[in-house]
């Protein structure tokens, strides 16, 4: 086990707590992705993984490396900012794609129905 034995208590306790919380939150997010009924509900499941789960684990990593290397290690901030900026874009693009696909499918189904009706009346 290569976990530093010299980690002080003030750092070990919050790191452990944040790791457990982050793991649980990401598990709940994936559970929501599997369990919820339709697509528009499912898109809300991973949102909690992305925000709170990733946030907890990134903060835990910052505290851990700052304590073990006894200097300020905050380059995880880059990942946090990147994830916070890109996750909304991804959610919006998937949502728009889903809405357009559903609308198009309805449109095609309507056209098919009227087409067969027209053929039936012609015959």
């Amino acid at each position: 086990m290569s976990i530093a034995e010299t980690l002080p208590v003030w750092a070990a306790l919050p790191v452990a707590f944040l790791l457990v919380l982050g793991g649980l939150i990401s598990l709940i997010g994936a559970l929501g992705l599997l369990r919820l009924g339709n697509f528009y509900q499912r898109i809300h499941g991973p949102a909690i993984t992305v925000t709170l789960g990733a946030g907890c684990i990134l903060i835990a990593s910052m505290i851990y490396f700052t304590a073990t290397q006894s200097r300020l290690v905050i380059h995880e901030l880059l990942i946090s900012v990147f994830v916070l900026m890109t996750a909304p874009v991804v959610a919006m693009m998937i949502m728009r794609a889903a809405v357009y696909r559903d609308l198009r499918k309805e449109h095609l189904a309507d056209e098919e129905k009227t087409g067969t009706d027209g053929a039936a009346t012609d015959a």
Binding site: G29, Y40, I43, I48
Partner: protein, 175 residues
């Protein structure tokens, strides 16, 4: 002169910070390289942005908005996880709602969409072009009017103050 070589001081500062964080140093050499990156990149990228870089007029309102939305994100995270864990999925009332928007500034709309999408439980779908209404999907809808009022007063009003203020003041100066 200042305007020409430093079109957006905030963006330059962020690029410098990004460079320093990636290299994890504050050595003078890396400070210099980061400063060069921060000056050159916005100047080269300026033709890509026909509307120019955004101007933020009230930073404190922006910080307060970001802080409040951080609290809101954490709160609604726990709400959504409680619903996922303990509620039957048929009982969740997921709906699309329409919200009329007054905000026109594209950077303000981008910030609003980022904040709304970051908050679990709400996803921005699109802005209806004819009526300038926002189509929003809400995970568990109790009261439509409450959502409309919250979005308009807590999110849209500060963003209008931050992004759309300078134009009004300029117009007042010229008249």
């Amino acid at each position: 002169m200042m305007k020409r070589w430093l079109p957006s001081p905030l963006l330059s500062l962020c690029l410098l910070l990004m460079w320093l964080l990636l290299n994890q140093t504050i050595e003078p050499a890396h400070l210099l390289l980061g400063a060069v990156l921060g000056i050159v990149a916005p100047v080269l990228a300026r033709p890509l942005q026909p509307q120019g870089y955004p101007r933020i007029s009230r930073p404190f309102v922006l910080f307060r908005l970001l802080w409040l939305s951080l609290i809101e994100i954490v709160r609604s995270c726990f709400n959504v996880s409680r619903i996922i864990l303990f509620r039957r999925t048929e009982g969740v009332n997921s709906q699309f709602i329409h919200i009329p928007l007054d905000l026109r500034d594209p950077y303000g709309l981008a910030l609003l969409s980022c904040l709304i999408n970051s908050t679990p439980g709400t996803v921005w779908v699109e802005i209806v072009p004819e009526t300038h209404e926002l189509l929003l999907h809400v995970f568990d809808l109790h009261d439509e009017q409450w959502w409309i009022d919250t979005i308009k007063s807590h999110y849209e009003q500060p963003i209008i103050e931050v992004f759309e203020q300078p134009r009004h003041s300029e117009r007042e100066k010229t008249t």
